[in-house]
Symmetry: C2
Subunit: 321 residues, 2 copies
Amino acid sequence: MTNDFDIPDRIIVAIGGNATHPEDIEGTSREQKDIAEHTAQALLPLALRDNELIITHGNGPVVGKILMRQALTSDTIAPMPLDICVAHSQGGIAYLLVQALENALREAGNPRHAACLLTQVEVDPDDPAFQNPTKPIGEFYSEEEAQRLARDMGWQMKEDSGRGWRHVVPSPTPLHVCDISLVEDLAKRGSVIFAGGGGGIPVVRGPNGVRNGVEAVIDKDLTSAHMANVLGIETLMILTAVPNVAINFGTPEQRLLHRVTVSELRRYQDEGHFAAGSMGSKIEATLRFLDRGGKRVIIAHLDQAAEALAGTAGTHVVPDA
Amino acid sequence: MTNDFDIPDRIIVAIGGNATHPEDIEGTSREQKDIAEHTAQALLPLALRDNELIITHGNGPVVGKILMRQALTSDTIAPMPLDICVAHSQGGIAYLLVQALENALREAGNPRHAACLLTQVEVDPDDPAFQNPTKPIGEFYSEEEAQRLARDMGWQMKEDSGRGWRHVVPSPTPLHVCDISLVEDLAKRGSVIFAGGGGGIPVVRGPNGVRNGVEAVIDKDLTSAHMANVLGIETLMILTAVPNVAINFGTPEQRLLHRVTVSELRRYQDEGHFAAGSMGSKIEATLRFLDRGGKRVIIAHLDQAAEALAGTAGTHVVPDA
């Protein structure tokens, strides 16, 4: 594809929860470190630039394992609510990413620091997502196990296309990233900042600005888009496990998208090209960000982050001309 | 006691891990929130002042439960190493404290922010603590359970004064708090900063400044003392569950200390007044801090934080005249 833009000096990059953690529950800590190191190598070319760089990450496998350990031990140890579990996952995932990215920078002879600010994100207590939990977390269970978990843990369980039962939770829209001014300050000072991990710790705001956690998981791509809009950052990069957004995905007519406008992408969305869940939520975050002043969303494979930033890989979505 | 000092405008406060979490394993999340709210009320008078305020916290009960859940599920879900567990506990504990303290500030009509920076702390790989693990984590176990945990989890188990067996880990001395300049920046900008939680995520530094996690837990009072020394903060406050340091503790000759010099305290230490573990490590942190330029250590009950800061409660340790 043609390279039609200057490499931005302010950017938010969203990476998946599987960028630090194997999906399977037997995944060892050695594998976690290896994955974090691989992710750091992919992000290194971005961090070696003289830029403002904020990174968000998902928490899929990690928070699923935290919940599963709790379900297996709930008769012995009191389980934690989901907001606290998300907070745990922010700490654990960001630690591995901060360490791996700083190590990659040091090996490259670069003194840049990386740091993580724990992040709460406010959602609307009346968000319709609370009436209709859709976000699956963790493993597939048999119907019998699902009934046990619903009874003992209060989990809402949903049958998933014949593959088994999964724990589903509300995924409300992010409204406000708490302490975003501190995130901006630290990013402007030159550190690579990890924030909004797992989409942020979900909280609601009550009278006097008092906050309380809620049982939910916020989509990290929507949180990233929101942060970028609020900070006036014009480029959002969403790194994932596929090289491009595709239409007619998985069919003989599949076509990879390279450069696409908002109108074109919305038309494809209306035509049903993007399944709910993974790519669907990335497209939703993309359109929200560009509708609110963003200038470019790059969706690319993690391993092609450098090429995607240079404009030679990934799907680039831009406002209508 | 007489009030012989000005209230400091730069201070590091260390609080115990039980300031957010009940000790018993049945402790529910509701109890956790209640405890965090109680702690926030105790800290509120400090946060309402126009000061630089950095808070560290322990992670005892939380990291113990993380490890215990892992031990009970290790045949199903791969366990995490201790550095990652500490990172999880930093996220979970600091989230509750940040939220509770900000809520207390809002209820008091004060807009001050609180935030948490995830913190790695470097230790020496040759620290003798690695050869002699002494820090107990989690519950007491029977000898049979202890043998099972040593075999399945690789835990070092130690018999504890006839009360059962406990998991013990190395507790090396903190040498460097990573990203301490970011902690200082944020504190100078006015936010109450939580850092060094659980004593910090333990790491060692290799060639090129590359860091890797180690199996250890760092004493949070030593980490607090180190941070205060490095930042030139002259007052360290250690909040705990007793109102004063005592000599002849638990005997008819027990005497509470109010104002004491380094020489006096060291003499009491040499005379064996302070048991290893809780008070012993606080005294060690106190002496290290004052030997390296600190001007005052206040050891007081959490509920008397305001009075202790004003000089009318707690034990105040000062350099020799």
